[in-house]
Every structure is written in structure tokens, then in C-alpha cells.
Subunit: 149 residues, 2 copies
């Protein structure tokens, strides 16, 4: 259904929250979980993944928590989504090559597929749009036209 997962949604919320903290401050998984009513255990898993991907830094122990590592304008939607749900593909036949660069538009799954090329193009358009979209865009809600117009 062309949907992102809840994990990505929760991840975005957490990142937004962390990005808004005053410099040097931490937020614990529990805090965030309670503030937005996100299941704690799930959010912890998400933050673990974000930490090991280098998006946030964790501080263990009592009074520990997380703070953001990347500046919001360097966190793009696709990157974050792929950390939490794996490679984005509009259709199964769309394989990004390892470099994350251009895919060649070939469908490995179906001979004679008449829609392989256009699907690859659409995939790329959406992907490019979402790569341009950063956490910074997501954070300043009011200005509605900040995005790729």
C-alpha cells in the first residue's frame, strides 16, 4: 500500500524529539515513550538500531539516554527508513545496486515485463524526492512548502 512502517514513524518522532533537545541534554527511551505513547520496548529497539547506525549516541547507566549525532539537515528520509526497514523498493524487481547508485532498470524476475522501465523510473523519482527530504524539513511543521517544490 505504499506505506512506511510504524517503526519509521516512531523513529522520526524520536529523532525529532532528540533534535529539539538543548545542546548536551539527553532523553531516555522511557521519556520519549511516555511522551508520545510509543510502546517502550519497541522504541528501545528502534533507538538501538539508530544508535548502531550512527544516527544517535547512547549513554548507558543511570541518567543515561540518547542524544542526536547527525545534524537534522543531514538526516534524510530514505536513509532513516532504510535503517529501520531495510532497502526501499517500490516493487520487488527494483534492486538498488550496492553503491546505492543508479539501478539499471532491468527486471530480474520476469521476462518480457512491459512495465519494468517505468516502474524503475517511478521508484527513482520517489526515492529522489524522499532523499531531498530531511529531518530539518520534518521538524519545522508550519512552513508547508519547504519541500521539493
Amino acid at each position: 500500500m505504499l506505506a512506511m512502517t510504524k517503526k519509521t514513524g516512531y523513529g522520526l518522532i524520536a529523532m525529532t524529539h532528540l533534535a529539539r533537545l538543548p545542546q548536551g541534554h539527553l532523553a531516555s527511551a522511557r521519556e520519549i515513550s511516555e511522551h508520545y505513547e510509543i510502546p517502550l520496548a519497541l522504541l528501545m529497539n528502534i533507538l538501538k538500531e539508530l544508535a548502531s547506525a550512527g544516527y544517535v549516541k547512547s549513554v548507558r547507566g543511570s541518567h543515561g539516554g540518547y542524544h542526536i549525532l547527525k545534524p537534522p539537515n543531514e538526516v534524510n528520509f530514505v536513509g532513516l527508513m532504510e535503517v529501520l526497514e531495510g532497502p526501499m523498493k517500490l516493487a520487488e524487481c527494483v534492486m538498488e545496486d550496492v553503491s546505492g547508485g543508479l539501478d539499471n532498470g532491468k527486471c530480474e524476475l520476469m521476462e518480457k515485463c512491459p512495465i519494468s522501465d517505468p516502474i524503475h523510473r517511478v521508484h527513482r523519482r520517489i526515492r529522489d524526492f524522499l532523499i531531498e527530504l530531511t529531518l530539518a524539513d520534518v521538524m519545522d511543521s508550519p512552513p508547508a512548502d519547504a519541500v521539493a517544490r
Copy 2:
């Protein structure tokens, strides 16, 4: 994720196939199924749904089959996708109102959701892009820039 389903893929292929038939000709589910190696029973279900949605006309009986009803440039991606997989939503909180018109950007699921507005905007951007995209665009593969640039 952010994927369309195989049903939509198969539906697009079938529509493309039908759109390319000479005027007055039919193609049966079996033909299409064999040509593109799509599971027959599944494709039949898809064609049934497309028929009851008015995208194709069915002709029953021996030598029956389907022909396309809508002109390719009037078949948009979102419409077809929503026939086959239900309403498109980038996130659960994105509810299209009944008119198919503007959603209001409010999240009914989560109080204090800090990303509701931007998510709704992104949803709308992708949706608008995919609405502009028609079967006609999908059919002429080579021209790569026909789409919403």
C-alpha cells in the same frame, strides 16, 4: 518498504497488454497469464476487480476475454492501485476524506504527534505525483522524462 503490491504490478501489466490490443480484440486471462508468467487464478481475480471497477469490460463464454474501457491517459496509477489494494496511505494516520480531496493533516491516532503535518504533506506530494502518472506514461517506456518534472 514503501512498496506497491504484486497485484498492482500484475494489474498494470494486464492493463498495458489490453491497451495494446488492436481495436475490438480481446485477450483472455489465460493468454495474459501465460505470456507474462502470472499465476492464472490470481490474475483472474485481478481482472474481475478491474472489471467491476469499470477499467475493463469482460466478455464471457468461449472466445471471451477482456478489453480495456478507459483510455490509457485516463488511467492513473493511484486509481488503479486503490482498486487493487485499497486506499493509499503513507502512514496509518493519513486518512483521505470521502471526497478523495484534501486531508486536513490531523492525526487521529496520536496526541502530540510532532510529525503529523509533514507526513501528511509528504503523502500528498507522492499521491499527487502518482495521480499525474497514467497508463499512457507507463506504456511508452523509452521517453524517460514524461513524468511530472
